[in-house]
Structures are given as structure tokens and as C-alpha cells.
Symmetry: C2
């Protein structure tokens, strides 16, 4: 394909994407394929000779689309949103075109510097404490990770390294592994599975703490377990708080938890993967109070802030803590400015070496929506969830299972878990809407997350009609 | 921005990218900016109100481009290539438009299944042993990681977990950390820094082995250190071999090393990040002999195989080994097909949870180039490196420092390290070409990697003219 054909095919692809998104509602949100469907549709080996673009492009509808779960359908309510906006798509195209790999300042200064500055922009939009911003001579700063999982892991590794060094200062005869055998980390029993995975990778004990009636970890719970663990000779070093848990969008009480972590010299990381975007609205900002006690904070603009996946924003108060956990500098990665202290080499802030120019999409989105436009988007998603909640509350056969704070509604039929499991199966089997379940206090619960940018009130009402219709059928069958 | 504007702006962006790539040669390959240049060029906070697309787009040339290191300039010879091809750009646009997150089969079956099948395609193109392929009921298979760093880490964690379980079977009273204190991993002193980083993250001893005169680790070296370590009570568990090291593109002797790893029950991971693409050519395939002894193998199609970053292809013989290191299944990620054994949930094969639809670009590239087109590309890059080597060899002031096998030439002025360091500084200060150095056997060496798809013989000759001109000036100054 020469450059002239790329111009033509690129424009066709823009139209294909526009057509896809414009008509996505006509597709079943959840595919009908069975596992293994795709292998039979394409050859067993790659072609020896080039195929034409026509050959390839016709397979998008034949091979790919039948197996796509349409995350941007207005009827997609599963997991949490994965953002998709036009400014982000355009910026990602540009990022691909430039195609630089920004592991060090020198490998593409614009890639590194834009990231630092737009994470300051975003931090200011959230009113993060000054210490989290890079500014021109701050000790902290932001970085774009791929996912919140990586942020939790990076924070845990930094915390581990910091505590090992601290303990070794008092006990130079103790090995790293001996110290690690005493380390203990904590998170909520409602925390994302990736926090537990971070503990497995980092080989540290990770205790899951019970929550209160609102599914939040309270200070008293943490205080008690810390006391017990210290009495048993353990060293508490890391607490991963969640603001907006995955099952029910619960908020750990960081104003209670933070001071405890500080007093104990523990690292508090805040995982606000989903909820974090909402903190740009003054009415939701109080949920972030207590962030001043955290060592690191993370949320995913790729969830609720209209930046396409992947873009997980993470800030630390002391960049030296993160860099200290990883740093190594072979000669082929050295550059003249490295020792000046003025430059950031983001490869020391993350697990991978390479990184794409992801700040472009954050920059495009913040500028083309403006703070006000982004706030409007969040308020709209929340209002739609509230509308759905109101519909549920009006139907006495159903119950709401957790407070609706942002765009997630947890609900169920009053009745057994089996009943609800069957209802969910039928809902998803319709393929017209797509939800996933969660477990709350032993109950099987349906989760409806307002996901797509294009979901409107009419979709919410259609969705509720379908759910109640399926519920009526199910309850009717059960009565007979 | 509404959908009509996206159609218009998307087409403009296609043209911008095409113009950029078409005229990239006119730009200085390495930017002139000083650290901190960007912050002064844009406001301190994000705008409250939306800006227009014109506002944003005009800042690409004003703010971004002055700070870009142009990886796709034909005069870019630093690091290793990061691929950029039109089919991959088109596929990445499609991936962004679909915008699914493929962490589980159900979250988008096409995303998971295409990945499995095209990694079989690619594995067959490399003539990987059958055991690495997924097929319809294989125990192995492929996965796209973001970077080779992640692949080395995932392999190390799988190896650690496998060995801990094995040792615990014999010594149920030993804790994981106690066993870890005995574990020892090995890699080449020439291995990529990310292998050492993987050891740090995984908290296992990582010994760097000396190499022979061709910068390759030999079997005898590994055998000796294993014997010593076992005698000292340690447990060798992981060897990371490199095919195509970053400093000099050296090849560890896996036909010697592999049988030793197998005999010891160690995990052999092969990191062929750069060189792996070449193995699709029959003339380079012998370099991969010995892969049958490996547990995992990885290379980056985003380096030499025309697939835009990020696309790091990894295969394992036993997927259960990888999954076993991480697996955890919260209810909101469960789906009906999960227990059938037919489906792959790639979130258990990697560090992050989320993942983009990256197999599309691999699929587009393999089809639109065909095996033959990809072979041609590799042969062209190698021929250009050979051409440069010939120029160097003709000039008696210079020497070649390592065998030129693929697209990398390591060379230097005969003389001191200081002399070569000054030469490199002047080369890069010209901003017309861009190289990075390496250290080989205590010598400061210049690395010229043929990177861009568009580098031609005339660029190589112009490059050599510039280098010899700067060298002549430098040597002349030194004589006076």
C-alpha cells in the first residue's frame, strides 16, 4: 500500500468507523457466536502473497463484527464504561502516525513533556493537593499507565521497596526476603481482583478487610487489624483504598483510613479507576476528601472521561519512591539531559519499557470538551443511572442493593439468587442489552452501569421495559 | 464534535499523517528543544469551555512537532526500529473505533479469538514447534503483550510459581519466601535491562553471565554457574536467553543452553524482541534452532515486522503455567463459557486486566504484505546494514565491533572512548541523523540500527558522508 492508497483507505476507514458508531444501535449488543467460531472462518496460515485491501476489509463484517461485544452500543451496561470520543480517536490516529516510543525524555521530548503537563492539568481539574503535581520543580507528578491494575502494582512495588529500605536501616542484617515475610498489605474485600493479583506478583500478604453496610472499609477496621498484625510481629506497609468499587461503586472512608496509614508509615494508594473522573464536578469532589493522606492516586480517564482506552492516570507525591523501585540505566538508554534533574524518564515509572504517545488523546479531549463539557458528560451519565434507579424503585418486585452515587445501579428481584441468576441469563440471551452480575453480602446482584456516551433516556426506558418483561415471564413461570 | 465533523476531521487527519510521513525527511530527525520547553507553550490549566478543533490542530506543529524525535525518518538509527506501516495504521484506527476491552472471551469474543488464531499464523510463519501453537486443542498458544519487558516478567513469574509449587511438593513445610530465597535466575550480561527489572520485581536473584567473543552466552558458562549455585544450596529456575541482544544483536547459544535448562527443570524464556521477525526468512531461521527447548518465546512484530507499537508476540508451551501464576476470578468477570475449557481469558496471561484489540493490526499486516512481502522488508533492512558495514570497513580509521547479522551495525573510530563519545555527540548535535551508543567489552561503541521502513541506500550513503565528515573534523582538531 503506497501513500496515495493510504490516503484513500484511511478516509474510507474514517467513514466505516463513523457508520459503525452511527448505526451501532441496530446491532445486537452481545454476539451470538460460540467459542471457537472464528478459526473456521479464516485460513489456517497467513498468505504467502499480499492480499488486496478489499479482501481484508470485507472480512471485517464477515469475521470480526459477528464476534464483537459492542461496548459503545447505548445498550451496553456491563463492567464499567470504556470511553470512546471523536477527539480521542483523532488524537490516537495522530499518535499512531507519529509512532514514537516515549520511554525516555530523549526518545521523544514532546511525548514525555505533554504527559507531565496534561497530568498537571488533570490533577488541577480534580483539585488534587499541590504535592501530586509536577509543576516546574515539584517532587511529585503524574504518569499515564495502561490500566489501573498496573497502577496498583506499581504503587505496591514502590511501597514494598520503601518499607524494605526503611526496615533495613534499622536491621542491616535482615535480607529483603526476610523483611518481606513480615510485610502485610490491606485492601477492601470489595476491591478489584487486580489488587490481589498485585499482592501475588509482589509476594506480600494481602488481607481483604470487611466493609460496613455501605460496602466501605472504615478506619476502625483497619486500625484493629494493624494492631493485631503488629502484635504478631508483622509490618503493615500498604493499603489500597478504593473510591468507587467495581461491584457496587462503594467509597472506602479515606478521611478515616488516611491518618492511620500516615501514622503507621504505610503507603496509601487510592484506586478510583471508575469514580475518579467524577471528581472534576464540585458536587462529587467531597468524595475525594482524604486524598491528601495518600502517597499515590489513580483513576481511568478511559472509563468516564471520554478518553479512549488505554489511559490510566496516576499521580505520586514523591516520584523518587517509584523510580527507586525500578531504576536501572543501560548505556543505550542514556542521554545528555538525564543527570540534570529537569527531565522525566517515564520508563522508571512503569512496568514496561516502551510507551505510546497517549497524552495526545487526553489533551485533545480536555481541550475540545473543556472542563464544562466533561462535567456535563458525567452529570448526564449519573442522571441516567438515577432515572433507572427510580424505575426500579417504582416496581415493588425489585430492590436496589447499594446506594446509587454515580453511574452504576445494583439491583435484583426480591427473591432467591437462583431467580436472579436466571433473570440475568435471559437478559443477556436476548442480546439486546448486556449486563454482568456481582455478589453483594452473599446476594447475586445485577449491575447496570451506564456506559456508552450515546446512551439516552429512551434507551434506559427500553432497557427497563425489557427487563421487567423478562422478569414477569420468569415470575409467572415460577408461579405455575 | 458531532459525527459529521468527525468524518471531516478524520479525513483531514489521514492527510496530515500522510503528509507528515511523506515529508518527514525534511525535518531534523532529533529535536532542538531543551528540557521543559513544552510547559511554556501551553496554558497552565485546561480550558473551562470547549476549544475548536482548529485551535487544537494548529498546536500540533506549534507545540508537539518541535519536540518529536522522528522515529520514522529514514535518518533515525537509534535504539531499534518501531514499526509503522499503512495497514497497521488502518487496523489501529479500526481497533479504536470498535473500542472493546478484551480481557475475557465474553468481553469481545472476536478480540480474543483473532489473537489466538493470528498468533498461530505467526508461529507457523516462524516455524515454531507445534507445542507453542494453540490449534483447537493445544496446551500452548500465543498472546500479544505490550512489550518484551512484560513478556520477560510474565515468564519469570510463571517460572517462579512453577518452581515454588514443585519444591513445596517435596518440602511442604517451606514457605514461598523461603523457597524464593533459594531461587536463582540467569541471563546474559548483554541482556536487556528489563530482564534485570523483572528480577527486581519478582524478588529473585538474577545473575548476569559473561559472554564469549561474539557476546553470546555459551552452554559451558551456564553449566558451571548452575553447578556452583546448586552446591551452595540454591535452586536454578529461570534462564532468559536473548536472540539479538540490544547492544550488538548477539545470539545466545540456545542449542547448548536449552538442553541444560531442560535437564535442570529450569524455565527457558527466549527474548528475541528485535531479531525474532527475521526468523520468517529461511536464511535466518537457523538462528532459532534450539527453541524447542524453551518454555516461552517472545519477539516484537512492532520492531521489524511492520506492525505499529505495541505488539509483542509471546508463546508458551503450557498455558496452564502462566495462568497458574495469576488466576483469580471475581464474579463480575465470570461468563457462561468460562468452564468449558474451550475459551481463552487473556487477562490471566498478562499483568494488566484490560487490553486493546491489537491482533487486528497483526492480521492486516500479515495479509496485506503476505509472507513474501514481510521477508522482502527484512532482507532490505539487512542489506542496508550490510551496505553500511561495507562503507565502514573501507575506511581504515574505523572498525566494526560485532558481527553484522541483521540490521544493526556496531562501529567506532579506532581510538579512545572519549574520541568516540565526542564523535557521537557531534553526530547527534547535527540533528540530521540520530544514533545511540552501547558498551562492548569496555569500549564505547556507536550503534547504527536501520529503523525506518523508508530508509534507502541513498540515506545510508548520506549518513556515512556526514559521519566521516564529522570524524575528519574531529581527528583534524585532535592532531592540532
Amino acid at each position: 500500500m503506497d501513500i496515495a492508497e493510504f490516503r484513500r483507505r484511511g478516509k474510507e476507514m474514517v467513514d466505516y468507523i463513523a457508520d459503525y458508531l452511527e448505526n451501532i444501535e441496530k446491532r445486537n449488543v452481545y454476539p451470538e457466536v460460540e467459542p471457537g467460531y472464528l478459526r473456521a472462518l479464516i485460513p489456517e496460515v497467513a498468505p504467502d502473497e499480499p492480499e488486496t485491501y478489499e479482501d481484508v476489509v470485507k472480512d471485517i463484517e464477515r469475521v470480526i463484527m459477528p464476534g464483537v461485544t459492542h461496548w459503545h452500543s447505548p445498550y451496553f451496561y456491563a463492567y464499567f464504561p470504556s470511553a470512546n470520543s471523536f477527539p480521542a480517536l483523532l488524537a490516537d490516529m495522530l499518535s499512531g502516525g507519529i509512532g514514537c516510543v516515549g520511554f525516555s525524555w530523549a526518545s521523544s521530548p514532546a511525548c514525555t513533556e505533554l504527559e507531565t503537563v496534561v497530568l498537571d492539568w488533570l490533577g488541577k481539574m480534580l483539585k488534587l493537593p499541590e504535592e501530586f503535581l509536577a509543576g516546574t520543580n515539584g517532587e511529585g507528578g503524574g504518569v499515564i499507565q495502561g490500566t489501573a491494575s498496573e497502577a496498583s502494582l506499581v504503587a505496591l512495588l514502590a511501597a514494598r521497596s520503601r518499607m524494605v529500605k526503611r526496615v533495613q536501616a534499622d536491621h542491616p542484617e535482615w535480607t529483603e526476603l526476610h523483611i518481606m515475610s513480615k510485610l502485610v498489605a490491606y485492601t477492601s474485600s470489595q476491591a478489584h481482583s487486580s489488587v490481589e493479583k498485585a499482592g501475588l506478583i509482589g509476594v506480600v500478604g494481602m488481607k481483604k478487610l470487611p466493609t460496613d453496610s455501605k460496602f466501605a472499609v472504615r478506619g476502625e477496621t483497619l486500625r484493629k487489624v494493624i494492631e493485631e498484625d503488629k502484635a504478631a510481629g508483622l509490618i503493615p506497609f500498604y493499603f489500597c483504598a478504593t473510591l468507587g468499587t467495581t461491584p457496587s461503586c462503594a467509597f472506602d472512608r479515606i478521611t478515616e483510613l488516611g491518618p492511620i496509614c500516615c501514622a503507621e508509615g504505610m503507603w496509601m494508594h487510592i484506586d478510583a479507576a471508575y469514580a475518579g473522573s467524577a471528581f472534576i464536578c464540585p458536587e462529587f469532589r467531597p468524595l475525594l476528601e482524604g486524598v491528601e493522606f495518600a502517597d499515590s492516586f489513580n483513576f481511568n480517564p478511559h472509563k468516564l472521561l471520554l478518553v479512549n482506552f488505554d489511559c490510566s492516570a496516576m499521580w505520586v507525591k514523591k516520584r523518587a519512591d517509584i523510580i527507586g523501585a525500578f531504576k536501572m540505566d543501560p548505556l543505550y538508554l542514556k542521554h545528555d539531559h538525564q543527570e540534570s534533574g529537569l527531565v522525566t524518564d517515564y520508563r522508571h515509572w512503569q512496568i514496561p519499557l516502551g510507551r505510546r504517545f497517549r497524552s495526545l488523546k487526553l489533551w485533545f479531549v480536555m481541550r475540545m470538551y473543556g472542563r464544562r463539557g466533561l462535567q456535563q458528560h458525567i452529570r448526564k451519565q449519573v442522571a441516567l443511572a438515577k432515572e433507572f434507579e427510580t424505575l426500579v424503585l417504582k416496581d415493588k418486585r425489585f430492590e436496589i442493593c447499594a446506594e446509587v452515587v454515580l453511574g452504576l445501579v445494583c439491583f435484583r428481584l426480591k427473591g432467591s439468587n437462583d431467580l436472579n441468576e436466571t433473570l440475568l441469563k435471559r437478559i443477556n440471551a436476548s442480546r439486546r442489552i448486556h449486563l454482568v452480575p456481582c455478589q453483594l453480602a452473599g446476594q447475586f446482584v445485577l449491575r447496570l452501569a451506564v456506559c456508552a456516551r450515546t446512551t439516552e433516556s429512551r434507551h434506559i426506558r427500553t432497557t427497563w421495559t425489557l427487563i421487567t418483561q423478562l422478569a414477569s415471564e420468569l415470575l409467572h413461570e415460577n408461579q405455575h
